[in-house]
Every structure is written in structure tokens, then in C-alpha cells.
């Protein structure tokens, strides 16, 4: 139980053991653990970055969507406007056409009426002459009074 030369041996053993523990246990293990720590930290920061990027992308998508909505609205209103224009144009054209057709019809009717009147006049003339001839046939020579009859017919 006294201090002996064992002390020196134990000192040597202790120092050697420290060296061994450092070489075989501490150094490789701490290097590995540090590596893992770094890996985990990297992973976490990458995840954080990804999250931020996702947020950014979402923001961007929202903006694009908003823009698209505005554009669509614009297109829609433009189309509506154009539609109204077309309808108006068509209406105008229709009215014009109606006018034109109406005018044409009126002209035709007038023409026909005048033709009919002409024919009627001729016929009535003929009729009157015929009537007069019949009347006069009893009293007058048709041929002698033809010039008077023609002058009469022309007055109708």
C-alpha cells in the first residue's frame, strides 16, 4: 500500500492509453460526428432554402394568375364591345337593306301602276270607242268619226 515503482509504470500506461484513445476513439469518432453534424445542418438549410423557393414560386404563380385574370377580363370586355359593334353594324345594314328593298318595291309598284294605268287607259279608250262605235254604229259611220274618237281617247 506504499508508493512504489508501480507509480511510474502506471504513468506510462496512462499516457499511452490517452494516446491510444485519442487515435482510435476520439479522433475518428469526432471527425465522423462533426461530418454528420455538418450534413444535418446542410440538409436543414437546404430544406429552408427549398421552402423559401416554394414560397417565391407560389407568389409568382399568384401574380401570373392575377395577370391572366386581368387579361381575360380585358379580352372579354373587348369581345363584348366588338359583339355590340357587330350587332349594331348588322342592324344598320339591315335597316339600309330594308330601305333599299322598300324603295325598289315602291319603284316597281309605281312602274307597274303606271303601266297598268297606261294599259287601262288604252283599254278604256278602246272600250269607249267600242261603246261609241256600237252606239254610233246605229247612227254614225265608224270611219267618218274615227278622228274625233281618237282625239277623245287621247284626252283620257
Amino acid at each position: 500500500m506504499s508508493i512504489t515503482v508501480t507509480l511510474l509504470i502506471q504513468i506510462v500506461a496512462f499516457v499511452l492509453l490517452i494516446w491510444f484513445v485519442n487515435k482510435f476513439l476520439w479522433a475518428p469518432m469526432s471527425v465522423m460526428m462533426e461530418e454528420r453534424q455538418k450534413k444535418i445542418a446542410d440538409g436543414l438549410s437546404a430544406a429552408e432554402k427549398g421552402k423559401k423557393e416554394l414560397e417565391l414560386a407560389e407568389q409568382r404563380a399568384k401574380e401570373v394568375l392575377q395577370e391572366a385574370k386581368v387579361q381575360a377580363q380585358e379580352v372579354l370586355s373587348q369581345a363584348e364591345k366588338r359583339g355590340t359593334e357587330i350587332v349594331n353594324e348588322a342592324k344598320e345594314k339591315a335597316v339600309e337593306e330594308v330601305e333599299r328593298v322598300k324603295a325598289a318595291a315602291t319603284a316597281e309598284i309605281e312602274q307597274e301602276a303606271s303601266a297598268a294605268r297606261e294599259a287601262l287607259r288604252a283599254e278604256i279608250g278602246q272600250l269607249a270607242v267600242n261603246g261609241a262605235a256600237k252606239i254610233l254604229a246605229r247612227e254614225v259611220d265608224e270611219k267618218a268619226h274615227a278622228d274625233i274618237i281618237d282625239a277623245l281617247a287621247k284626252e283620257i
Binding site: 515503482v5 508501480t6 500506461a13 485519442n22
Partner: protein
């Protein structure tokens, strides 16, 4: 009992507390001679040190960085624990501190653990099968082991004191601490005592605790060995078992605590050596 023959309680205890040593002196060694090697102490401490190195080598060979499992987790948690202690108590950075603390913790714990092996088991085996008369299995109950570690730590303390503070700073520490420049002689004595007390308290604390623990184990072992004669054995034998178990469980705490204290104090002392202003 180890010697195999009937002996008294004092002889029993003394027998157990005697190291198996060889003498390097011509003409034999006296009881207090310096020149003897305690073979059992050297053998068991070296064996346990080799065990640490072997297990460390095996673990570091099969270790994986990604998903550690099983034993690697266990080793890593010890490493983390030691590193946490170093980070908490040691100022600045010194790559030797953590491995040193780890070595102390593991080695002291394993050597203390030898205390939990039944006191008569290994001596009995050694005596019966190998013919070895004396065997003291717990290296930390031999004053040489704790003191060797304490002195190594002390050497490091002095080395880093000088390295960090410089030779002048180191001398200044002796001259002007703790009472300033007007009490230089007192300062020298005080600082000397303070510095020498460090390795002494470090070594003797461990030695004392383990020695006392071993002694209690021996006394408990004596209950059955000497008092149990005839029918009385029915009472004494169970008592010995109960007491032994209780002390064993308590001792698990003690050996861990002692290893922990030795480690932490080493870190603290070396930390003090590293601080510029004392």
C-alpha cells in the same frame, strides 16, 4: 478464502489488501520499499486499457456516419457527454483535453468496476488454478494508480500554466497571488499549497473512496465467512447477501461518481491553467 486455509479476520483483510508484487531490489524488499512492481495492479489496469482500445478500434472500424445503431450509439453518447462537460467547463480550445477526459472517465470507471466483482472470486480462481498467493483486483485501490493519473494531470497543469502564462507569468502567479504584491512570501506558500493540493486531492479522493468501498465489501464478506457456523448460517448468510447487494447497488453510483469527479476536476484544473488572469 484465497489462501484456502482458515485465517482470522485481520489476516483475511490484510491478505486481500496485499498486492502481488515482485521486487527489483537486491536482497528483497521491505514492506515500504519503493522498488517493487505491483503485478496485479499493472496487469488489470493494462488489461482494462487494452479493452478500451480494442473496443474503440472495433467500433471506429464499423462506424457509419448516416444512421448509427446499437453500440455506436452508446459510444457516441459517452463521447457527447464528455464533450459537453469539456465545452461547459473548459475555456478556449485545446484538442488534448477531450480525449484526456474521455480516457480518464472510461479507464477509472472500468478499474472501479472491478470492485463490483465478488471480492473472493478472482483471488480464489487465481489461487486455485494458477497458484497465485496474493491478488488485488481493483487497480484504483492501489494508491499508485490514482496518484499516477493525478501526477500526469499535474504535469499537464504545470506545462499549460507555463505555456499559456509564460515563465514570467507562472512565477508571477506564485509571487502575487492571492494577496497582491505586499505579501510575497505568504503568496508563495499559499500558491504552492494550492498547486500541490490539486494532484493530491485528485489522487487521494479516488483512492480513498475505492479503498473504503473495497474494505466494506471485505467486511460484508466476513459476515458469512467467520460468523456463520452451524445453524447461525441460516441467519448470517442471507444477511450477507442482502447487505452485499445493497452495497453493490450503491457502489455502482460511487464508482461512476468517482470517475466523473476525476474527469471534471481534471478539466477544471486544466481550464484554470489556461486562463490568463488567475
Amino acid at each position: 478464502m484465497a489462501s484456502g486455509e482458515k485465517m482470522g479476520t485481520v489476516e483475511y483483510i490484510q491478505h486481500h489488501l496485499t498486492n502481488n508484487s515482485i521486487c527489483l531490489e537486491d536482497g528483497g524488499c521491505g514492506p515500504m520499499s519503493f522498488w517493487q512492481i505491483n503485478l496485479d495492479t499493472v496487469f488489470f489496469s493494462t488489461l482494462l486499457g487494452a479493452l478500451i482500445v480494442f473496443v474503440a478500434w472495433r467500433t471506429s472500424r464499423s462506424m457509419v456516419a448516416g444512421t448509427p445503431s446499437g453500440f455506436q450509439n452508446f459510444v457516441e453518447s459517452i463521447l457527447d457527454f464528455v464533450q459537453g462537460q469539456v465545452k461547459d467547463t473548459f475555456p478556449g480550445h485545446n484538442p488534448i483535453i477531450a480525449p484526456l477526459a474521455l480516457t480518464i472517465f472510461l479507464w477509472v470507471w472500468l478499474m472501479n468496476f472491478m470492485d463490483l466483482i465478488p471480492v473472493d472470486l478472482l483471488p480464489y480462481i487465481a489461487h486455485t488454478f494458477l497458484g497465485i498467493e496474493y491478488l488485488k483486483v481493483v487497480p484504483t485501490t492501489d494508491i499508485n494508480t490514482p496518484l499516477a493519473m493525478a501526477l500526469t494531470v499535474f504535469a499537464l497543469i504545470v506545462y499549460y500554466n507555463i505555456k499559456v502564462k509564460g515563465v514570467v507569468g507562472f512565477i508571477k502567479m506564485f509571487l502575487f497571488h492571492p494577496f497582491g504584491k505586499f505579501l510575497v512570501p505568504v503568496n508563495i506558500v499559499m500558491t504552492l499549497i494550492e498547486e500541490i493540493a490539486k494532484p493530491l486531492s485528485l489522487g487521494l479522493r479516488l483512492f480513498g473512496n475505492m479503498f473504503a468501498g473495497e474494505l466494506v465489501f471485505l467486511l460484508i464478506a466476513l459476515i458469512g465467512g467467520t460468523l456463520a457456523v452451524g445453524a447461525a448460517a441460516l441467519f448470517w448468510a442471507p444477511l450477507q447477501v442482502v447487505l452485499d447487494l445493497a452495497w453493490l447497488i450503491f457502489h455502482i453510483l460511487v464508482i461512476t461518481l468517482q470517475a466523473f469527479i476525476f474527469m471534471v476536476l481534471t478539466i477544471v484544473y486544466l481550464g484554470m491553467a489556461h486562463t490568463e488572469d488567475h
